[in-house]
């Protein structure tokens, strides 16, 4: 029993110390889900994010995320936001952030990597791509009209 508990604790620590986490959900209202590969997990405050995750919100949903370079991104209702690429070097502050807003709205505040090298953060939408030189901005993508 005791061994089992120790194992549980060890696993718990391993879980929180996952190096692959690039960001953390700090705000979650209504329906917020993370699509990771083939699985969908509900996002709550404290859920870690990884590269290639897709944040999906419902009609009542919104989410706020902090990234390791101090970038902040919030996603509004009825939105689909994919983190296509993310890397950040805490020593040099070099990095790359490619987000993809497929639908809905987002607001963002750029972080250390953009300060270090402008345009290292990009937000793609179906019809355009935006380079971020700093610091606060919003993006909306309308739902494709069904014909």
């Amino acid at each position: 029993m005791r061994k089992f508990l120790i194992l549980l604790v060890a696993l718990g620590f391993a879980g929180t110390a996952l190096a692959a986490d690039i960001g953390l959900v700090k705000v979650a209202k209504g329906s917020v889900q993370i699509q990771r590969g083939a699985t969908k997990i509900p996002a709550t405050v404290g859920t870690g994010l990884q590269q290639a995750d897709v944040v999906i919100t419902g009609a009542d949903g919104s989410a706020g995320i902090t990234f390791t370079d101090n970038s902040l991104v919030s996603v509004g209702p009825n939105s689909v936001f994919a983190i296509d690429k993310y890397r950040f070097d805490t020593t040099t502050h070099a990095g790359e952030f490619e987000g993809n807003l497929k639908q809905g709205r987002l607001a963002a505040v750029s972080g250390k990597m953009v300060k270090q090298s402008p345009d290292s953060m990009k937000i793609r939408t179906p019809s355009a791509i935006m380079g971020v030189r700093g610091t606060e901005f919003v993006v909306q993508v309308d739902e494709t009209k069904k014909n």
């Binding site: 404290g46 750029s110 935006m130 919003v138 494709t144």
Partner: protein
């Protein structure tokens, strides 16, 4: 026939073709809390990069493929992005608190300042806190490494005592390696005896 197709294609290109309907999009610059106006560069598919660097300045892409520079009002931004912007997490912040010489005890002024720091931390749902201790240049490397570490640890204890979960706080000591005020070696300098508290 092939020639015919080429002529048609050329006509479309010459007309600045908006043959296929595109997904509408809007990109806008909003002022930061301190009033700073940022810069974004928007490149519509197949278009040229365009710089937006004015307050509520925006690039709007319509369903017919039209791309235009517009300036939105604060109300328009709020009605479209209100719930989205409300979900933005608190801005990262940094605080510096000062210590008595050779001790891990805060100066009386910094003890008062700690209340302000705590008021900020309390409003963050899941704070990531880094506490970095520093010293002035009096004494040897090892002595100051230990002192800076002790200051950072002491600060963590205080924050935990105020109700911040210990696992949210990382501590490090930088000794006399990172002076706020550059001095010669073996100089007593109150502004170098400090901890930085970085929170996001």
């Amino acid at each position: 026939m092939v020639r015919h197709l080429w002529v048609i294609a050329a006509a479309f290109i010459a007309a600045g073709c908006s043959c296929a309907p595109v997904t509408p999009a809007l990109f806008a610059v909003v002022p930061a809390a301190d009033g700073h106006i940022g810069r974004i560069v928007v490149t519509a598919n197949g278009g040229e990069p365009r710089l937006i660097d004015t307050k509520y300045g925006a690039e709007r892409i319509s369903a017919d493929g039209k791309v235009e520079k517009v300036t939105l009002s604060e109300d328009e931004i709020k009605s479209t992005f209100g719930p989205t912007m409300e979900a933005l997490p608190g801005r990262p912040a940094s605080y510096t608190l000062y210590f008595l010489e050779g001790k891990d005890e805060l100066t009386p002024e910094s003890k008062i300042e700690l209340d302000k720091v705590f008021a900020d931390l309390r409003h963050r749902p899941l704070p990531d806190i880094a506490v970095i201790g520093h010293t002035d240049t009096r004494g040897g490397l090892e002595y100051n490494d230990n002192l800076s570490r002790a200051r950072a640890e002491r600060m963590r204890e205080m924050l935990v005592g105020l109700g911040i979960p210990a696992e949210r706080i990382q501590v490090a000591g930088r000794g006399k390696r990172e002076l706020l005020v550059p001095t010669e070696d073996n100089v007593s300098e109150p502004r170098n005896r400090r901890v930085e508290i970085n929170v996001r």
